[in-house]
């Protein structure tokens, strides 16, 4: 079993709803975004690539942990705080993490691994998200877990649910009959940084 995600970049219009859904479902501390919608080519968020002469283009890349089939982070962690589960999810155990940040250095996908540099703080006085998410801790690394707590209840990750463009697809990449397998058989796709040999389980339809 290899759980994975397919994101149709031709459908995504950069509304950031998935980023907010993730933030809310996992009760992320201030300034932490496990799922970020990046703007290709632009200097800033929602800033188009190109110039006046050649024309502009605006393309988005929703980026979170790629849940690689061959993850660099799990090999690097000295205590096994990050590990790949049987179902392909690259999991993060806050209680084990010693805060050495070796995984941050080992991960080629800059910015998906987030270290809590201080005691987690929240904009709201009350906790958001699901009741069974593990509490955020100071001085440990955290990241997208494909909403492991929702998977345990048979649900899909939170980012899947609210996407207004219906650009996200979820399923088992090992199952040829799954929606995700069919999509990557049928459509042209890319994975991020394939030259690093990590074989991400997040595919982008182009």
């Amino acid at each position: 079993m290899r759980l994975g995600m397919v994101i149709d970049t031709r459908r995504c219009f950069g509304c950031q709803t998935c980023a907010v859904a993730c933030k809310s479902a996992n009760n992320l501390p201030n300034n932490n975004w496990w799922n970020r919608v990046l703007t290709e080519g632009g200097e800033n968020m929602d800033c188009p690539a190109g110039d006046y002469e050649k024309g502009y283009s605006l393309t988005f890349l929703p980026t979170s942990c790629q849940h690689c089939d061959n993850p660099a982070c799990t090999r690097a962690c000295p205590v096994g705080a990050t590990s790949k589960r049987e179902d392909g999810v690259v999991f993060q155990d806050y209680d084990k993490c010693i805060g050495c940040r070796m995984c941050v250095a080992a991960c080629p996908y800059n910015g998906v691994r987030i270290f809590n540099w201080e005691e987690p703080e929240y904009y709201l006085d009350f906790a958001l998200g699901d009741k069974d998410i593990p509490a955020h801790q100071k001085h440990v690394v955290e990241k997208c877990t494909f909403c492991a707590h929702r998977l345990a209840q048979g649900k899909t990750p939170a980012c899947m649910v609210l996407c207004p463009a219906r650009a996200r697809f979820w399923g088992d990449l090992d199952d040829p009959e799954s929606e995700v397998s069919k999509l990557i058989n049928k459509r042209k796709y890319k994975q991020l940084l394939t030259d690093r040999g990590t074989n991400p389980s997040v595919y982008y339809l182009v």
Binding site: E40, T63, A76, P78, G99, C100, V104, G111, W117, V140
Partner: protein, 414 residues
Amino acid sequence: MAENNSVSKNKSAEERESISAQRSSRGSGGLIAIVIAAVIAVAGIALWIYQLSDGLVNTNMRNLSSWGLYLIMFMLFVGLSAGGLIISSVPRVFGVKGFGGIGKVATWVSICCTALAVAFVVVDLGGPQRLWELVAFANMSSPLMWDIIVLSVYLIISVVYLWATMRFENGTGSSTALRILSVFALISAVMVHTVTAWIFGLQIAREFWYTALLGPWFVSSALLSGLALILIVVVVLRKAGYLELEESNIRRMAVLLGVFTAVDLYFFGCDLLTSGFPGGSGAEVVALLTTGVLAPYFWVEVIAGVVTMVIAFTPSLRNPGPIVIAAALSIVAILCKRIQLMIGGFQIPNMDLPGVTTGPELTGGGQAFADVAAALVYFPSPLEFGVTIGVVSLGAFMLLLGLRMLPLKPKEQE
């Protein structure tokens, strides 16, 4: 020169011992230095406790530059610990002429440096209270785990080796056992430098780090900086009257310093060519070093290396004064290399997609320091400098205390 030597040979060992003991060991100068080092070390520990309680937010490390000064110093001090191996174990293993009985001092310097390297890893950790997990949940595929193991082994072997040398000199240990032990010390030392390189060199995520050359290169840099440190320590101790050493030994070590510099710069050249030759993204790395934001650190290293070689290979310049300058320049050069390696690994992002940054902003003091080198992705914060000075002082405290309390002075029997 010749007169001095004959005079010193005429003195009995005990006389020498007592004279130098009067001049240094029992002197108040050494004691004051020990107290100062201890006070600064305690202040550093206080800063570290503050860092743990208020958070690593007070450093200038962030999610896109997740390691900084602490691990730069870790790399530097692992390298500096190589001195004991060159001065003491290599001559014994291969049965070649040593450097005049300074093996014990060199081994003690190594032990202090290794302890400091471990300390720099500890102050970098977010959860030092979870260190026990390294034993309980050891993940043997992690180069960091390998390094923790070889560093521990190296530290233990160094201490046992020092103890065995003392026993041997007192006439109670066997020379065969000591020689066998020196073989293990040599192997573990080479492994320490190589495995430390692997923490970086095995990471395919960072173009700047991912090269098979990094292991051997760390060994050569370690030999260079380690020998340089021993040279400084020995020349200073000789000047202070702590030990006596024929100047020829210092000159021979200086030649070796020049050779190590040449090897280190040769590796650098090989690496730059391999990166730059295909053009592409490797050329970005070369440009970053030679003309980019890391250029000051690159050129200081290169120029320091050239000056070191001129001093080391010119017989008329090969005197204690210039040799100490060359040695100091060598350590500066390796520090520059470590800065290049650490910051260079983070400076060029794999995915150049700006838009969303995560994590807290720099603190006021941190921002002020970061503005000094605004082009760099990382520059240390005041707290990081404070903790680093504290840890180095802890090492100075260990070193001075050892020189005072342990029987490290050269003996007749080698």
